[in-house]
């Protein structure tokens, strides 16, 4: 149902994951996940090690934060982050590269899982793992099945349907064994036996590689999917693989499915088997104008400017810098922003491609309706949002919108449909919340 097929532009598939040198200083925001920001545990002047817990989870949907470098805490102050606003962050000046002793830095792959399901979940929480696909939902919450629900399938999201991005693709190519072990870990935590890895057809090498190994892990299968945006959306992926629909307003677990992203699975492997908390991740730095599109393994807190520098520097004709993919990523107002847990890629768009089209009147061509993966009517939601008609918006199921941007992408009149839908959605969301309270 629905969907679009934007040009793939996967420019960095030839570039293996390379480790970016440790930066001179990092800025580690306290809010890197869905939910309330973590509470800092260090003070100005404290010495920290790589992997040391520096901020603790504050509440249910929150996650621990660990230092990605060793050095001295410079200050705890406001810093501009990828949300576009200044928020609290820990500034650390790097001194050397001293890791916590507990972290297993050996390269060999550890296959057997010694921890029990409950222990795994606890460990995930300690390691501060969140969904690395972009939603940054804490993994330990996802891995614990709520009472009364039962997980039947674990679905691994190797779709990477956003154009340009290749981080997940690279992990699948370079760390297949680790991934499959990671899957076993999550299976154990969830208590399911079946796992399905969904990969789009445009990554035949990854499909081949994983299929080769998967044979030795019972219950894990690979499913090739046709290329379609936004198939990487949780609900769309479940529908594509299981032919089940997550009910409106519901969660995947309601129909027995749990979805983890490839990058997250790898992080889980490292956390459980190698005792390594989440403090670095793979980031794609790409764009048509960038001289060396690359996939870097980056310490969290590294500034975007350093990544761009490593990929050949910021081109002259840069129009937009995007944190994430071109469809759902956030455009940044500055390059002085740190990489966080949810940064899957840095995309540079040329000036001439960055400008939006002139806005014309809606000609009711219904292309947005046919591409909407959620069966909504974006043209209507857009205009209702524009006119602030929130009651109608709720009736028209605006809250189901996954903000994939297919409508704005396809609109021949260049209407900023998603902008208005998002505006309407945030207002409707507020109205619903206040209604629930009273």
């Amino acid at each position: 149902m629905g969907g679009v097929h934007p040009p793939e532009n996967k420019l960095s598939t030839k570039s293996n994951i390379t480790e970016l040198p440790v930066p001179k200083a990092v800025i580690i925001p306290l809010g890197q996940h869905l939910g309330v920001p973590a509470k800092p545990l260090v003070n100005k002047g404290d010495d920290v090690k790589v992997g040391q817990l520096i901020a603790a989870s504050e509440g249910f949907v929150s996650a621990n934060i660990h230092s990605s470098v060793s050095g001295k805490v410079l200050k705890i102050d406001k810093a501009l982050d990828s949300s576009g606003y200044t928020r609290d962050a820990i500034f650390i000046n790097v001194e050397g590269d001293e890791w916590e002793d507990s972290i297993d830095r050996s390269p060999e792959i550890k296959k057997e899982i010694s921890l029990s399901g409950a222990e795994i979940t606890k460990k995930l929480a300690e390691a501060g793992i969140v969904g690395l696909g972009g939603a940054t939902f804490p993994s330990h919450v996802k891995a614990s099945v709520p009472k009364g629900k039962k997980a039947e399938y674990l679905i691994i999201n190797g779709v990477e349907c956003e154009p340009y991005l290749t981080a997940d693709h690279m992990i699948m190519l370079e760390k297949p064994e680790e991934l499959l072990v990671g899957i076993e870990i999550i299976k154990k935590a969830l208590g399911v036996s079946a796992a399905i890895i969904g990969i789009e057809n445009n990554k035949p090498d990854a499909i081949e590689k994983l299929s080769d190994i998967a044979g030795s892990y019972s219950g894990t299968t690979i499913q090739a999917l046709k290329v379609q945006y936004p198939q990487g959306g949780e609900k769309q992926l479940i529908q594509a693989i299981l032919k089940r629909e997550v009910p409106s307003g519901g969660l995947p677990i309601d129909i027995g499915a749990v979805v983890f992203n490839v990058g997250t699975v790898y992080a889980i492997y490292e956390a459980i088997q190698k005792n390594k908390p989440l403090f670095e991740r793979v980031v794609t730095v790409t764009g048509k104008s960038i001289s060396k599109p690359s996939n870097f393994k980056v310490r969290l807190g590294t500034q975007v400017s350093e990544l761009i520098e490593a990929a050949g520097g910021l081109p002259e004709d840069t129009g937009k810098i995007i944190n994430g993919g071109p469809m759902m990523g956030k455009s940044l107002a500055s390059t002085e922003i740190p990489v966080v847990k949810g940064s899957s890629g840095i995309l540079i768009i040329k000036d001439e491609e960055s400008k939006r089209k002139e806005i014309k009147p809606c000609i009711r061509c219904s292309k947005c309706v046919s591409v909407c993966p959620m069966g909504l009517e974006p043209f209507l939601l857009g205009v209702l949002g524009e006119k602030s008609m929130f009651a109608r918006l709720e009736e028209e199921k605006v809250m189901d919108c996954i903000e994939c941007g297919s409508c704005s992408f396809t609109c021949p009149s260049g209407r900023p449909l998603l902008d208005f839908i998002r505006f309407g959605k945030s207002n409707v969301g507020r109205i619903i919340r206040s209604r629930k309270q009273s």
Partner: protein, 338 residues
């Protein structure tokens, strides 16, 4: 940095699709039918098309510039599409005055009154056409004989109108039936021939005569994804079924389905008029209801009413129902709890 970087909400890329591309796509799809009309009606067809397009574009420009005080948007091609569609619905023997009135009604009343492109509830070209049909019924129902460029460019006066024009096959059938003749005898009598319907050598409005040219346009638009199949197919299928039932009931007093489909602008309406974006429903299910509605009303008007054709009225009526269809027929929502 010398230049400021741009910040905007996602998505950051665009398909490159545009209103202009869609509109000119429709224009290209109409080309075969237009060329056929030039072939059969000669200079008259060229004159009607040019005048209609020019006055539609002209009125759009004038109204936007001087009455609404907007930036004129005539380059988006929508006025051109309206102009060609209006011309497609006119006989080639109309005096300029009538064509200009039609264009004024189409653009002025049908489109600009509601705020221009995208806001009009009714197909502008049809508003113009139906107004003319009601206002100048004689002129609008007499069609020049399809004699190609041999027909001199001459607008018949009221006196010699009968001599140089004829009626459409549907008109002939309607008249014959009223006179008590049977279908077979009407067909023989008037030399009605299905190949002519297909190739276009019959009397009629510019755009309705040649089925093959219209179908080429349809195929083009489907390939280019300008329209989907739902509306044209549901209209034609409904007409086929409905007239098929009547025909099966009594083939001597009701013409057969193929006759109904090939004549009287059914294809023109189904392919180019009913599929107008602005005035048709927004999702496939709604589009099918809409098509069925048009089909049923068309046949009712044809068989029981005074007007021999009826597609125009049917589309206009269903245009009126489109907002209701949009309101009550929704696309299948993802994850709808049934």
């Amino acid at each position: 940095m010398s230049k400021l970087i741009t910040v905007s909400p996602s998505p950051h890329i665009h398909s490159g699709q545009s209103v202009e591309k869609l509109m000119y796509g429709v224009v290209i799809a109409m080309m075969p039918a237009m060329l056929v009309s030039f072939y059969f009606f000669g200079l008259g067809a060229i004159y009607v098309t040019l005048l209609s397009v020019a006055s539609c574009v002209g009125f759009e420009y004038l109204i936007q510039k001087f009455i609404l005080k907007q930036k004129p948007s005539i380059t988006d091609g929508s006025a051109i599409v309206t102009g060609i569609l209006l011309a497609f619905n006119l006989p080639s023997s109309l005096p300029p005055f009538i064509i200009i009135v039609g264009a004024l009604l189409a653009i002025g009343v049908g489109k600009m009154t509601f705020g221009g492109l995208g806001n009009n509830p009714f197909n502008p070209a049809l508003v113009g056409r139906v107004f003319l049909l009601l206002s100048f019924p004689t002129r609008m129902t007499k069609y020049p004989l399809a004699e190609g460029f041999n027909t001199p460019l001459l607008i018949p006066t009221n006196d010699n109108l009968d001599a140089v024009t004829g009626a459409t096959p549907l008109g002939l059938v309607k008249e014959g039936l009223k006179n008590g003749e049977s279908i077979t005898s009407i067909f023989q009598h008037n030399g009605i021939n299905y190949t002519d319907f297909f190739m276009g050598s019959i009397g009629g409005s510019l755009g309705e005569i040649a089925a093959f040219a219209l179908i080429i346009g349809l195929v083009y638009m489907l390939i280019k994804k300008i329209i989907t199949w739902h509306i044209p197919v549901s209209i034609v299928a409904t007409i086929a079924v409905f007239t098929g039932i009547l025909w099966g009931f009594n083939p001597e007093s009701y013409a057969d389905p193929l006759f109904h489909i090939l004549t009287g602008g059914v294809l023109l309406g189904a392919i180019f008029m009913a599929t107008d974006y602005v005035t048709s429903p927004m999702n496939p299910k709604g589009q099918i209801y809409y098509g069925i509605g048009i089909g049923v009303i068309t046949v009712v008007i044809r068989v029981f009413g005074v007007y021999p054709e009826g597609v125009s009225f049917a589309i206009l009526i269903m245009n009126g129902f489109t907002p209701l269809i949009n309101r009550y027929v929704k696309p299948r929502r993802f994850g709808k709890i049934s």
